[in-house]
Symmetry: C2
């Protein structure tokens, strides 16, 4: 049995998802020879630290009932700096203006030689090159499948499963909120505003939907793909972006009559990074409905490989984080 000490920095939906998944998968992990022992958890105000392993069930309950994880006042950054452990699970909120706490947390993790798994897009969309350099300098493993498409595996698919292939293009739907709104607009022949309101009611869209509907979230994911798969050193400012707010039900109907759907498509290859609404043939693998994400990876040997999955959700995103953790430590 290999015991790996873990910190969870950021304890919102994704951080709690990771805790829940580690509770549920204790036996599964033991069967493959792994114990992930969480020795510290921090939210934005409080922390809990236990070198013998935090009681995850009670921390999850406390967070739900009291809104805090513990009585300790160490910040996430201080935990990463001072508490002995092997892997940091960085799940603080994405900030694409400054990189937020996430950027400092990641750089500290690498400075201390710790491995890092994250769902936090902001730092990777802003400072990819600097982060990779810092991770390489300390020999830290750095995995971030969860940043692009939640449970839909695209980075690890490209790197591991399609090894040997040169990837020439990636395009897809990387934002479930936009996909939901467009799908519902077509189904109901209803205007954008009405279906946005429905998405907000159902929790598929934020109160301020700008980040999703203007294509910024998709742009950040494309930047990560551009850097990770195509070896660029792009930031989200290098992306040409058009969102979905100007699309009308009439346009969707016209498209449908010709056998097409309209989707917010992100595309990246070695010459451009682009987000825009596009016509997709109804029987094309990219034409998936609801809030699904989809990515089509064009390769030189295998041809096009398309993968579809849930792009968000607490447990789904935690699943991608767990797969990354396992891939680092499984013998």
């Amino acid at each position: 049995m290999r015991t790996v000490r873990v910190s969870i920095i950021g304890f919102g939906a994704v951080g709690q998802g990771v805790a829940n998944v580690l509770i549920d998968k204790k036996k599964y992990l033991e069967d493959i020879g792994l114990e992930f022992k969480v020795v510290a958890i921090a939210d934005s105000r409080t922390a809990v630290i236990d070198p013998d392993g935090v009681d995850l069930v009670s921390v999850v309950n406390r967070k739900k009932t009291e809104g805090t994880v513990g009585d300790d006042k160490l910040t996430g950054l201080e935990i990463i700096e001072t508490i002995d452990h092997e892997v940091v699970v960085e799940t603080t909120p994405t900030n694409i203006v400054t990189g937020g706490a996430g950027l400092h947390n990641m750089l500290m993790a690498f400075k201390k030689g710790r491995d890092l798994v994250t769902s936090n897009k902001g730092p990777l969309a802003m400072k990819y090159g600097e982060l990779i350099e810092a991770a390489d300098a300390s020999g830290s493993k750095f995995r971030f499948e969860a940043t692009v498409g939640g449970a839909m595996p695209v980075l690890n698919l490209a790197r591991d499963v399609l090894a040997g292939n040169t990837i020439t293009n990636v395009e897809g739907i990387f934002n479930g909120t936009c996909n939901y709104i467009l799908t519902r607009m077509m189904e109901e022949q209803a205007p954008y505003e009405q279906m946005l309101a429905e998405a907000q009611e159902l929790g598929y869209a934020e109160t301020d939907p700008t980040y999703d509907v203007e294509g910024i979230d998709t742009a950040c994911k494309l930047v990560i793909l551009a850097n990770c798969v195509f070896g660029m050193n792009a930031t989200h400012e290098d992306v040409t972006v058009t969102g979905i707010t100007k699309i009308t039900p009439e346009a969707l109907m016209l498209a449908q009559n010709d056998g097409y759907v309209i989707k917010l498509i992100g595309e990246v290859n070695d010459s451009r990074i682009n987000v825009a609404p596009k016509l997709v043939p109804i029987d094309h693998p990219l034409a998936v409905g609801g809030s699904l994400n989809v990515a089509s990876v064009q390769t030189d040997l295998a041809g096009p490989i398309t993968v579809t999955g849930r792009g968000a959700g607490s447990v789904e995103t935690a699943s991608a984080i767990l797969s990354d953790m396992i891939s680092i430590y499984r013998e």
Copy 2:
């Protein structure tokens, strides 16, 4: 640079595909620290052996012009037994009655402690348990992504990319010939026989199409999934199979009018293995057209993950073999 000595046993479309891919990807492999040195190639009648590395370009040319790979008379089995090398690429034709030469080749590879990568379904659909046991006993690595869906990655997706998940169901289209015929029957409102003839003309179907259109090929792939993903010890006799020969264009039209397509769907979970034509909603991720393959993997954490790709083809299948080889030897 890590040098790995390779034999290619079976030099039809897939074996030649592997040779061509190794020629094309020499530089790519060097960049990731690998040299695959082919020291022996066998077809059904001849062989070529060179401990310093066979000249792949001239062997591929000779096979094309003269129909043979060399002047040596060693069989594939004798090569595996007597020539020093690390990995056997087993690409002899599938035989689901006896397992064919492939079964003996695989068992010999494991007896000699060699690793093995294969596209040959027959032995795995017949004697999975025996093969895994033999590989484990000698510490041999045994990889067979190419046996299920060609370039469409499903085994490695389930095992590596979705690690941490429990897989509860796999369903999909695992035969491109059937998908092509059904897609064209719907497009042309034409009977089965006519579209089979077209598929034969285009090289998508064999002169004797039984193996594909009666669902036997799909059944073999499901058996491999059942054994590999669900830990069963099934053979193709455990599968309930219905093929596509009784499907009419009228049935396809009726389905289409209700928003459905008819596809030959293979499904496996821990209680059943089944191949049958099924109705699939037109906007469902499994509703892919042409000769594509698709697999939908139901997981406990990530939800459903669907992957689409080319299920056959010389280079496409060789791509899956190369990815397996890289995953064994990449540091």
